[in-house]
């Protein structure tokens, strides 16, 4: 059993379950008696008495200084250094469906390229009628579209194949963000160069020190890919590919080439490092799947979770989480409190957009007894998120990528949560 130590008590001060014990049940409602006047009401507050900072105090505004928890975090032992590495979105600190730009997880293979947009060029070459070069100014003159899409790294939850390992949904599920992109349909740029009839594949290349490349089938490129320059209304962040990135809706994040500088049209895929040595899924028999582009339906309960324990004791509570699918929308999420024995349909809230993150809630009265929490996404194609055991039956434990198994949090009587597996 947990001794509480592993939950880093320094991160949050716990209100134990006994704090709510002063309540008395009257006419079905929990009433809390206040013994002495609340200093938060009785004492004068400095922010009520004295003037606050004026406008322009922060030309680019930042979160309240009290909001220190909503930050990206890395797991140092995962990678050899911090340049070719990854960090994680603090899902447990967020609500709604949009991920704020500054805390979208980062994955770089050669660090984040810091590019002067005036010196950035996008080249289209290969099997085209006219190889073309575009400046950023050129790109901004094409018609553009706005779409909200999730971007999930194929390795999200990859550390959990062999069993429960990391304690926090930020670490188990935080290689994802959900952003509104503004960009030019890739189709329009390709039309400008004129794709030849045998042009069936596209190689997208980044301008970073890794020269990141991925092969993309032309059908997808012409369908819904965007060349984006804005995220959530403002310019892409440097670490998200400023000034230009590829958006490949519903497909693994590695394909969304950042710092996009070149698109080559070809008649065959290139089989580069990130689609052979990496981002291929090794199965139990020693053979590997390649070109596993689509992200399967997945969900996770973000609150409560190991970094976000229940601090208020028994009574009404809000359970919430996120769900997404690379194949469409998420009309339904089910939640269980008993490890999968009985399920309840959660309440979806907020926009339900194609290949976007969805928000779900399940409100209930917690009786203070231990919980085994799980969520299960069902996407618009009818695909049901599998258990980890179902996944392992097909794939074994060496796949690294595309782990969309159902996550279990064990919540003890103190409200502390832990990453566990059940059977």
């Amino acid at each position: 059993m947990s001794d509480g130590k592993s939950f880093s008590p320094s991160r949050r001060s716990f209100l134990t379950a006994s704090a709510a014990a002063g309540g008395a049940l009257a006419s079905g409602k929990l009433v809390h008696a206040q013994a002495a006047p609340d200093p938060a009401i009785i004492d004068p507050q400095p922010w009520r008495q004295y003037l606050g900072p004026g406008v322009d105090n922060a030309p680019y505004g930042m979160p309240s200084p009290y909001e220190t928890e909503a930050v990206r975090r890395t797991v140092p032992w995962l990678t050899a250094d911090l340049v070719s590495s990854i960090n994680f979105t603090p899902l447990h600190e967020l609500d709604g469906i949009i991920t704020p730009n500054g805390i979208c997880f980062e994955r770089h293979h050669g660090g984040a390229a810091e590019i002067d947009p005036a010196e950035h060029r996008l080249m289209i070459n290969g099997l085209v009628d006219t190889p073309m070069v575009f400046t950023m100014e050129d790109i901004m003159r094409f018609p553009r579209e706005n779409h909200v899409y999730f971007l999930e790294c194929a390795a999200n939850t990859g550390m959990e194949w062999a069993g429960a390992q990391l304690n926090g949904c930020q670490f188990t599920h935080g290689m994802i963000h959900n952003v509104q992109y503004t960009g030019v349909p890739l189709r329009l740029l390709l039309e400008e160069a004129g794709v030849q009839t045998n042009g069936r594949w596209l190689l997208a290349e980044g301008a970073d020190a890794a020269g990141m490349t991925r092969s993309i089938p032309m059908e997808k490129a012409l369908d819904d890919c965007l060349v984006a320059f804005k995220m959530n209304g403002e310019a892409l962040r440097v670490e998200q590919g400023y000034p230009l990135r590829l958006v490949v809706p519903g497909w693994e994040g590695n394909m969304w080439i950042k710092w996009l500088r070149r698109l080559e049209v070809g008649d065959e895929p290139w089989h580069h490092r990130e689609e052979t040595s990496k981002y291929t899924d090794l199965l139990e028999d020693g053979d590997a799947r390649r070109f596993t582009w689509v992200m399967d339906a997945k969900s996770v309960i973000t609150n409560p979770s190991p970094q976000a324990p229940i601090t208020h004791g028994p009574g009404p509570m809000v359970l919430t989480g996120v769900a997404w699918s690379g194949r469409g929308t998420i009309p339904r999420v089910d939640v269980t409190l008993d490890g999968g024995r009985n399920w309840h349909q959660a309440r979806m809230s907020g926009p339900s957009l194609d290949k976007s993150m969805h928000r779900f809630y399940y409100e209930f009265d917690w009786d203070g007894s231990p919980l085994l929490l799980q969520s299960r996404a069902i996407d618009s194609t009818g695909y049901v998120q599998p258990t980890k055991e179902q996944l392992r039956e097909f794939r074994g434990e060496n796949s690294i990528y595309h782990n969309n198994g159902i996550q279990t949090w064990y919540v003890n009587e103190n409200g502390e949560a832990e990453n566990v597996e059940v059977g």
Partner: protein, 348 residues
């Protein structure tokens, strides 16, 4: 008016996807928009050097195993080890044959990579780490030849070029197949799920993350206090200006792929650089210096600012066969800035 009505009807129906149908796709224009300009052949050649499995894109050149070994030791071994066995968590490049079905498989060029073109492309494209676009085609071929030799794919007299490329058979060439999830998993898992009494008996915990205890702990206080201190010290000192140190911090990014500085700095690909200005060369403990560095150390080289400026201008000219893979910094002022930064970060 019409649009508003449609939208609210869609919202009433509770399906925002309906509302999304209002999105009008950006339309093509017959004959194009006339934006951008044709790329010059020299421009395409400067960027288009990707390589495909059929050999399309291979550069002209060649390299042999033993030339490759020398280059590998100089440029690659700091991360990948002399024999591709890897240092720390850097990628293992050789060995691992027959381990793909093991509990902990070793996926290397020999045991896993299906195509030789991928090795040529990647080494040429992205290596050495932090010094991309620095290897010539001959150097690339030589390093790849050595990697093939390390993986028992070729003999030691092998010379790799755009012709012999086609003679090489990669051991795991047939180890991959096209994504089949739609035919296997998706069909198995697309069904109405169970809602009640779905398990046989009580559910039990079979594994817990807290037992492994590998989740990073936070040390907020240490992180919060680190940066302001540096600024104060720099201000109080009569030494380099905060502006110079700040400029140095930017230049330092070129160094940080291989070097650490500051409290707790460790030797990595390159040695830790705390207090380097004025230090004797080649004296960091537990760092494996190149023979060139060891000789310089024996001859009593001291890293005066003058020597460091000369070295960092052109590392390979100052110390041929040093393992440091770095093209150098042009401006003296930039070198002074990065040295000022290093010294400002050095714990007192």
């Amino acid at each position: 008016m019409m649009k508003t009505l449609t939208l609210s009807a869609a919202l009433l129906a509770g399906t925002a996807t309906f509302a999304l149908a209002q999105e009008n796709a950006a339309a093509s224009r017959e004959g194009g928009f006339g934006l951008g300009r044709p790329a010059l052949p020299e421009e395409v050649a400067a960027w288009d050097w990707d390589v495909r499995p059929d050999g399309v894109g291979l550069p002209v050149g060649e390299g042999d195993v033993w030339t490759g070994e020398e280059l590998f030791v100089d440029y690659c071994s700091a991360c990948h080890g002399d024999f591709g066995e890897a240092v720390g968590r850097w990628p293992v490049l050789a060995g691992g044959e027959g381990t793909l079905t093991y509990e902990d498989p070793t996926k290397t060029i020999g045991s896993y990579w299906p195509y030789l073109s991928t090795v040529v492309d990647y080494v040429h494209r992205a290596m050495p780490y932090g010094q991309a676009e620095s290897l010539s085609p001959d150097e690339t071929y030589a390093i790849v030849a050595y990697l093939l030799y390390l993986n028992n794919v070729v003999d030691d007299d092998f010379v790799l070029n755009q012709d012999t490329f086609h003679d090489v058979e990669m051991p795991n060439a047939d180890g991959f197949f096209m994504d089949d999830r739609d035919e296997t998993e998706v069909v198995a898992w697309t069904r109405e799920p169970c809602m009640s009494d779905c398990t046989e008996g009580e559910v039990e915990i079979t594994m817990r993350a807290t037992i492994l205890d590998v989740t990073p702990e936070e040390d907020d206080e240490e992180e919060a206090s680190a940066e302001p201190e540096v600024v104060e010290e720099a201000a109080a000192d009569t030494g380099p200006s905060p502006e110079l140190i700040a400029a140095g911090a930017t230049i330092w990014r070129q160094c940080q792929a291989c070097h650490e500085v500051g409290e707790g700095a460790r030797n990595r690909v390159g040695p830790a650089l705390n207090g380097i200005v004025g230090a004797e060369a080649g004296m960091r403990e537990n760092f494996r210096y190149s023979p060139a560095f060891q000789e310089a150390a024996e001859e009593g080289l001291v890293w005066t600012e003058e020597n460091l400026i000369a070295y960092l201008h052109d590392p390979r000219a100052f110390m041929p066969r040093s393992r440091m893979v770095f093209n150098g910094i042009d401006e003296d002022e930039d070198i002074r800035a990065v040295l000022a930064y290093i010294m400002s970060e050095t714990p007192q």
